[in-house]
């Protein structure tokens, strides 16, 4: 990858769609290096396991690869690439967790059953965040960690924009009303 590659994701995707073998492989590598850490973070969020997260990372980029010819029809970006990668990484992570639990004889388990990481002596902030539902924590993370706009979150989660706004509002209200961290909102 060229470190100073300033080509946009749209340009790189276009090369992956129609470039020759070498150009397409290089463009894909740039996309991979650019979005790898984001995908890995998302995968880690839903697996809480390094190896499973790495499996999900690989699955996510295989999914992206198969969007391009010859197997795929080509990819047309209508929003940021991260809004496409987010659900792919999330699904790959959940699938990896399910597989791991099945092979460990623990049965099928949904993401919601994964406990939030909160040690017994957790800080009040950690405890308050852990008390949020997975959906609300996911929304806050997308907005304030991944810096996605509300519209991008709507695309990534495949829900209407209004739903994102109201869910985010509820998440923030829940935090604001949590007595453990109330003073952080009203210093």
């Amino acid at each position: 990858m060229r470190p100073s590659d300033r080509r946009s994701d749209e340009e790189l995707v276009a090369i992956c769609n129609a470039g020759d073998a070498l150009e397409a492989a290089r463009a894909f590598e740039t996309l991979y290096r650019r979005h790898r850490d984001f995908v890995l973070r998302v995968a880690r969020r839903f697996t809480r396991d390094r190896e499973l997260a790495l499996d999900a990372l690989q699955e996510t980029f295989t999914y992206l690869l198969n969007k391009f010819p010859p197997a795929g029809d080509g990819l047309v970006l209508t929003a940021r690439l991260s809004t496409l990668l987010y659900p792919a990484a999330k699904n790959a992570a959940i699938t990896a967790v399910r597989k791991a639990r099945r092979s460990a004889g623990a049965g099928d388990a949904m993401l919601e059953e994964l406990p939030a990481e909160t040690p017994a002596d957790a800080e009040p902030i950690d405890a308050a965040l852990a008390a949020l539902s997975p959906e609300r924590r996911e929304l806050l993370t997308l907005r304030f960690v991944d810096d996605l706009s509300l519209a991008e979150i709507a695309v990534a989660l495949d829900v209407p924009l209004g739903t994102v706004k109201s869910r985010l509002h509820l998440a923030l209200r829940e935090l604001r009303e949590d007595n453990r961290i109330k003073d952080l909102f009203d210093p």
Partner: protein
């Protein structure tokens, strides 16, 4: 419920940074996974032709050269193969009424010594007018 946009965009910095830390913001670098993904991509795209640009056929260059030579020959044909007309007195490349006038002036200036007969002038003038006044006589 009518969520306020101002509130939606606000999260105290302490909570936001804690959220980032909880999210394991540290990337987990694994060269083996990088290699596996990128090798898969190379194999995947290798099915495509080495170059997507249309290949120039081997015969394209000689054919282009032959076409250029042919075109040049056609354009230069009057200069190479056509003998200049005796009646093109002013050397313009065409025989027209100006040549008739030039012949007439030569005869007026030199008389019989000019070698231009009155019948030649009349014949030429007649041919030009009779065929097409707008076109040259070959």
């Amino acid at each position: 419920m009518n969520p306020n946009t101002e509130q939606l965009e606000t999260l105290p910095p302490g909570i936001a940074s804690r959220l980032r830390r909880l999210d394991h913001a540290q990337p987990i670098v694994d060269p083996r996974t990088d290699r596996a993904v990128l090798d898969a991509a190379r194999s995947y795209f290798a099915a495509r032709p080495a170059t997507s640009r249309p290949r120039r056929a081997r015969w394209a260059l000689p054919l282009s050269a032959a076409a250029a030579v042919l075109l040049a020959a056609v354009l230069m044909r009057p200069l190479i193969f056509d003998a200049p007309s005796r009646d093109d007195v002013d050397g313009s490349g065409r025989v027209d009424v100006l040549d008739v006038l030039a012949l007439a002036r030569m005869r007026a200036a030199g008389g019989e010594a000019s070698g231009v007969t009155a019948s030649r002038i009349e014949e030429l003038a007649f041919r030009i007018v009779a065929l097409d006044s707008s076109r040259s006589v070959p």
